[in-house]
Point group: C2
Amino acid sequence: MEEIRLIEVKESIMSDNDATAEKLRAKLRDKKTFLINVMASPGAGKTSTILKTIEALKDEIRINVIEADIDSVVDSEKISAAGVLAVQLRTGGFCHLDAGMVQQGLDALDTDTLDLVIIENVGNLVCPAEFDTGAIKNIMILSVPEGDDKPLKYPLMFSVCDVLIINKMDYIGLSDFDIKALRERALKLKSDIKIFEISCKTGMGIDEWADWLRQQVKTFTR
Amino acid sequence: MEEIRLIEVKESIMSDNDATAEKLRAKLRDKKTFLINVMASPGAGKTSTILKTIEALKDEIRINVIEADIDSVVDSEKISAAGVLAVQLRTGGFCHLDAGMVQQGLDALDTDTLDLVIIENVGNLVCPAEFDTGAIKNIMILSVPEGDDKPLKYPLMFSVCDVLIINKMDYIGLSDFDIKALRERALKLKSDIKIFEISCKTGMGIDEWADWLRQQVKTFTR
């Protein structure tokens, strides 16, 4: 069990979040640390997906996790139990992370020794999409029970993401979820979005996703 | 098919949302119009639950719906197809409704002829909990696939709600969702929260919920 570091983050004094994010990304390039920002609705499976990703990659890639949660350390405890250091940002009611908060999280980590930092953003499809965290890639998880109409309702989230992970594929067939329609709607918002279909329960698709991420991290840290 | 009225809402100029909400509630008492505010994650089944509620009550109770959505009229179209007038508030990226926005929605309705107005808030467990909309009762929908840990992560949402509807009960047994733990966690945050277990797919529990709402509306509009 790894330790959990708890940080009470303050709202950024920096008014220009985009500039802070760009500066953070430049620093990450220097240090060769790949940073991904995982966003989703509450309950879509962010923590489960991160745990499966850790399981697949931790022998080859040095990973830490930055957890954002309004008022609990439930997720950090799970990450920590998987043997990976988790920094828990307590956002005290904030609905998203910004680059300044992520910087505070990174400051608590020894990035010189890391290949990959995974941010688990606040469970919310609205506000996190509006704030560049400084991540190299934005990942969105949509779970099958949420429905195939989400790109119509939360278009910004889909358009800022590089990857769409469709989780809980084991639920497909239990509803009228139309995966073809979902793919079309997502691709209309972001024509080069990479789509993975997974199930954290059965393990389906985890390898494909982990292979893609491994390749990205290796190229970045080379 | 009923018409859809589309309103582009502006952020309130009123800085004191609580005062605006109280004023709105006083007006509703005068007019004997019951107002409920339905909140949930994206995909928990807000629109489906509202449609089932309309189906159960529309012959006895005069209902209109205020729909909030960032960028679509998908939900309004469904409500309208059920023969009920829907006002669509386009929030243009806002993550919640406040009392001033709801007032703009009510202004577009003929509340003198209505018993019940249902607000479908933005799909989000964070921000909507922070803003009193002026509703008489706050209703939260949690769907089984989201998991039983949500009260630990979004405590404010549970503590501001009068009713917790657990939807997609047909998914129970497909996961390790612990309904007893969920009930305990919710009751710890709001000791008098009323809990209904429903499935919009099978119809389970809809009658109990509709009976409770009917009783509330009848008492209020007497």
